[in-house]
């Protein structure tokens, strides 16, 4: 007969195991996301790209969201010697904490995938959902990103959903600058 105390301890142990997965660095986490989308047989060239002030102001104005960092992490993705895509890692702001997200583009600047690499607060974590992120596949700087119209919202995650959607539109606008720099 298993005592209720043992059951309680097992539940607590399970919760703690779930709470503390082994973390790698943010760059490694982002690269795992890229490989998760495009497979292991790719080569990644990493660069920390400072944001040009003029370009930054112009994009911020057009997408109605500021950049929260002075640089972004970018990758050139190659397979069999040919460039197959690019990826950009950046932050947007949730209700209290930054949300670190990654967007993978094809060579023409069309979104291939997006994912939340790190979410740090209680509310709005539903933006991590792969189903929700899938809505951005195929979008580019010419697409609409309005939550509720072009992108389905998430009840209880309004601030995060708006923030991430604008963030992805911002990286779409940044894409030509990133491509030129790599």
């Amino acid at each position: 007969m298993i005592s209720s105390k043992k059951i309680g301890l097992s539940i607590l142990g399970g919760l703690l195991f779930a709470a503390f997965p082994l973390f790698a660095g943010i760059q490694q986490d982002a690269e795992a996301c890229i490989r998760g989308t495009l497979g292991e047989e790719i080569e990644l060239t990493f660069k920390k790209l400072p944001l040009d002030k003029t370009k930054r102001v112009q994009i911020e104005k057009n997408t109605r969201q500021k950049f929260f960092r002075n640089d972004v992490y970018v990758w050139k993705i190659e397979a069999d010697g040919a460039v197959t895509g690019y990826a950009i890692l950046d932050n947007v702001l949730g209700k209290a904490q930054p949300i670190t997200f990654l967007v993978v583009f094809d060579p023409m600047g069309v979104v291939v995938s997006s994912c939340i690499v790190k979410y740090r607060e209680s509310h709005g974590g539903q933006v991590k959902s792969a189903r929700w992120q899938k809505q951005f596949v195929g979008k580019s700087s010419a697409s609409g990103f309005k939550v509720g119209r072009d992108v389905d919202g998430i009840s209880g995650a309004t601030i995060s959903a708006n923030s991430v959607s604008r963030g992805i539109s911002k990286l779409c606008a940044l894409f030509p600058y990133v491509k030129k720099s790599l």
């Binding site: 919760l15 979410y119 740090r120 991590k128 119209r149 389905d152």
Partner: protein, 382 residues
């Protein structure tokens, strides 16, 4: 029992904190942010008998303050000024020495102020002034998130939104299934009655902790645009400490919200049971529900704003079952039809207008007493 529950929540949290989480990376900066929301209302009330009344009310001005200490630790607060002014009334001292404030105006409320430890997506911990997870609007009630000018009556009298108090919570989400377990201050059972449980909220003011409230909820948000969930709240509410009388209250509710393909649908239903109706003016239970259905029509119009006409049907009765039965179950039974339009020039700004007819089953000896309302509102969140 309650001490063990509290200890379990706190010890779980302490173990979380003791474990060594990931080192912070350069994508995190400790920062303080502010946000907020507010709403101005025009309300016209035209009762079946008597004069109509018109008011302009800056109903809520709310400031959010958040600070991220580390990647896992943050602080979040919500300070609310209601009705634009706080003014004390005349203090009255009862025979037993209780001092009450008569005719005070407005309210200043600290509706949230908690430390949050976000260990992972699956497990987090909060302690401070928190909100129990009950219904759609108790935790998320910014004006652009609901279609009517005023919050639904259901979200006032069945779920006493905004319901806040001192306590602690465990929360997490796994593959779109979110859970939250709350232990917080209980309700004042002496205030239970024909108007339900709303007046029993202690609002964190030197709250009596002799009987705690337990709230458990689960929500599914795995499909874009959908939120569906349920919650149970239990409190063996103290009625009279000296006499040792208590009245256990159980609130169960279900809610679903869909915002997809220009359709906006909401359904909430809830029931409150009282174990000892003799201590709640004979009221055995409160019951209510409402349905909203709206559709964005801006695609058909030359406007950039989201324009959403909607209809609502609401039926609530805070004394749906009483020991006396008969007319005592009719006076708080209100059914409401509402039509309205919500206009959002951006996701964070909303203008609303609605027209409603509320029918009270029995009021002042009149059956099916009708009250007509026209409301206008302007709201924002950021």
């Amino acid at each position: 029992m309650k001490i063990k529950m509290m200890l379990a929540v706190v010890s779980g949290a302490m173990l979380c904190m003791g474990a060594n989480a990931a080192e912070e990376d350069e994508f995190f900066n400790s920062d303080t942010t502010i946000g907020g929301y507010g709403e101005l209302h025009y309300n016209m009330v035209d009762p079946e008998s008597g004069d109509s009344d018109e008011t302009l009310d800056f109903h809520r001005f709310v400031l959010f303050l958040s600070h991220g200490f580390t990647e896992s630790w943050s602080f979040q607060a919500e300070l609310e000024l209601e009705h634009n002014l706080v003014e004390s009334g005349d203090a009255v001292t009862d025979e037993d020495g209780t001092v009450t404030d008569v005719d005070g105006k407005g309210e200043l409320e600290l509706e949230q102020a908690y430390l949050d430890y976000h260990a992972s997506s699956e497990l987090g911990f909060q302690v401070g002034v928190i909100l129990p997870s009950v219904g759609l609007l108790n935790e998320n009630h910014e004006p652009p998130l609901f279609l009517s000018v005023e919050r639904p009556n259901y979200s006032k009298y069945i779920v006493p939104t905004t319901w806040f108090g001192n306590g602690a919570a465990l929360y997490g989400d796994c593959e779109g299934w979110g859970y939250r377990l709350v232990v917080m201050e209980g309700l004042d059972g002496s205030a239970f009655g024909a108007k339900g449980i709303r007046d029993g909220r202690q609002k964190g003011y030197k709250s009596d902790a002799s009987e705690l409230l337990y709230n458990a909820s689960i929500n599914y948000t795995g499909l874009p645009g959908l939120k569906a969930g349920t919650s149970v709240s239990y409190n063996n509410a103290e009625v009279d400490e000296a006499a040792g009388t208590k009245n256990a209250m159980t609130l169960t509710e279900f809610h679903v919200k869909l915002d997809k393909d220009r359709v906006h649908g909401v359904f909430e239903v809830g029931n409150v049971d009282f174990a000892k109706p003799e201590l709640s003016d004979g009221v055995e239970s409160s019951f209510g529900y409402y349905v909203d259905l709206g559709y964005d029509i801006d695609e058909m119009l030359p406007f950039d704003a989201r324009i959403t006409p909607f209809v609502r049907w609401e039926d609530i009765n805070t004394a749906s079952s009483t020991t006396a039965g008969g007319d005592s179950e009719k006076s708080e039974h209100k059914s409401t039809w509402m039509v309205g339009v919500a206009v959002l020039p951006t996701e964070q700004i909303i203008f609303k207008v609605d027209y409603s007819v509320e029918t009270t089953e029995l009021k002042g000896g009149i059956s099916d007493y009708e009250t007509t309302r026209i409301n206008l509102g302007a709201g924002y969140m950021f």
